[in-house]
Amino acid sequence: MARTTVVPIGPQHPVLVEPIHLRFEVEEEVVKGVTPVIGYNHRGIEKLMENDFKKNVFISERVCGICSHQHSTAYSQAVERVMGITPPDRALLIRTIMFELNRIHSHLLIIGLEADAIGYENMFMQCWRDREIVMRLVEMVSGNRVHYSMNQVGGVRRDITDAQQKEIEAGLKLFEERFADLDQIMRHDPTWTARLKGIGILPRKLALDLGAVGPVARASGVDYDIRSTRAHPYAAYHMLKSFKPVVREEGDVWSRMIVRMDELWMCLELIRECMSLMKPEHLSAEVRGNPNGQAWSRVEASRGELVYFVKGNGKPAMDRVKIRTPTFANLPSLGPMLMGCQVADIPPIVTAIDPCICCTDR
């Protein structure tokens, strides 16, 4: 009878990029249980957002450094829903373009980190080099690499001009070349497939029961993508015809990464379609008065479904802003994924859910 040992990892640990505490119960080399403990990165953002509803856009962006635009989009459209504002189509299309550019760099980041977790340094460097292309594109459009400040309540603040569209198009062409390489490596490279296939399996039923979202759910065969949910249209996705959710059935770490890779191809299509639909229009609708009432909005951030609930009371300061981030929804499914795996497989499995502890703790 093997003895159970508890191995605490984190909140400060070289394997983890962000502060989360994971308590593993192991029998020799096999994981028998895991308890995630969160709250090491709490910054009180929700309390801070009891503030002027226009200034909150900048705070919401700072919930997360990777999906910053997605947070501010979710917040702005929740406030727009309270105030009954419809942003112009051009604003929605610009939001969508930034949204998908954001998704490209988020997915490239996590594919790189996954390669790093299995010790594939070469691929890690390749992904992060390619990520630099999109960082340069968003800097060209918005003036900043991380916090774009593109959104405001009612629309967007900066335009994407024709010259900038041409540069984005050139960037996408370069991506096509690089993605073709990356795609081949992720599907056929023996180092990548042998290490990641068949570990961290999450069956479809468990994914549904535990409320997994985003690429984690879609890799387990759950067809759940807010971009395709017609009941809750957001940004410009209802105008785009080329969108199809990427769903796979395997449910292991490898398929989670392939879902992300396929989404990268989808991003290129969506950005191109958005740019073809842009017409000269105003960038923002007029905003009068203060939000009075409550609404919620959800978007498909790169890690999964992101929900914002806002409540206003007719004054400039909001009453309440509640955020439900995708990593928080994905953490429960970490337990069944890690059950019975080897200790050496812990880093790739934890990385595959794309944990953003910064978002989770807020």
Binding site: Q126, G143, V153, D159, T161, E281, E286, V287
Partner: protein, 134 residues
């Protein structure tokens, strides 16, 4: 195999990074670096300090000075959008780091200028210009 050819290609190609202090950084023309005041244009409407989400601008109309707390500024551009006379602009240059709080003071000499005839109202939401058709 694809990775092997990639690695070999990388071995003989130029580095992807630039040697920054020797080679200038790739700063884009509409970069949000740091804000600068043109004090000849300021009409003291105080919209900049009111719109700032981080209370980085302290305006004193009586003394005709704007104090900018550089360490608080997040370069969001809310003041640039709000300014009716375009007295605030972004400089394409990032704020240098420091050990102590950096406070820049902008002082206006002489009488406060009258708002010009082309003044756009400090609207709560700038509708923006309709982009030109290509």
């Amino acid at each position: 195999m694809s990775m092997l050819s990639n690695s070999l290609k990388n071995l003989f190609s130029k580095p992807a990074t630039r040697r920054y202090p020797a080679v200038p950084a790739n700063i884009q023309p509409n970069c949000r670096g740091r804000i600068e005041y043109d004090m000849t244009k300021c009409i003291w409407c105080m919209m900049c300090s009111r719109r700032c989400p981080t209370v980085a601008i302290e305006s004193d109309k009586a003394a005709q000075t704007h104090k900018v707390y550089r360490m608080r500024c997040i370069a969001c551009g809310a003041c640039v959008d709000a300014c009716p006379t375009d007295a605030i602009t972004f400089r394409e240059h990032y704020q240098e780091p420091g050990y102590a709080p950096i406070i820049d003071t902008y002082h206006q000499e002489g009488p406060i200028p009258k708002p010009g005839p082309k003044e756009k109202p400090p609207a709560p939401c700038d509708p923006g210009e309709a982009p030109k058709k290509a």
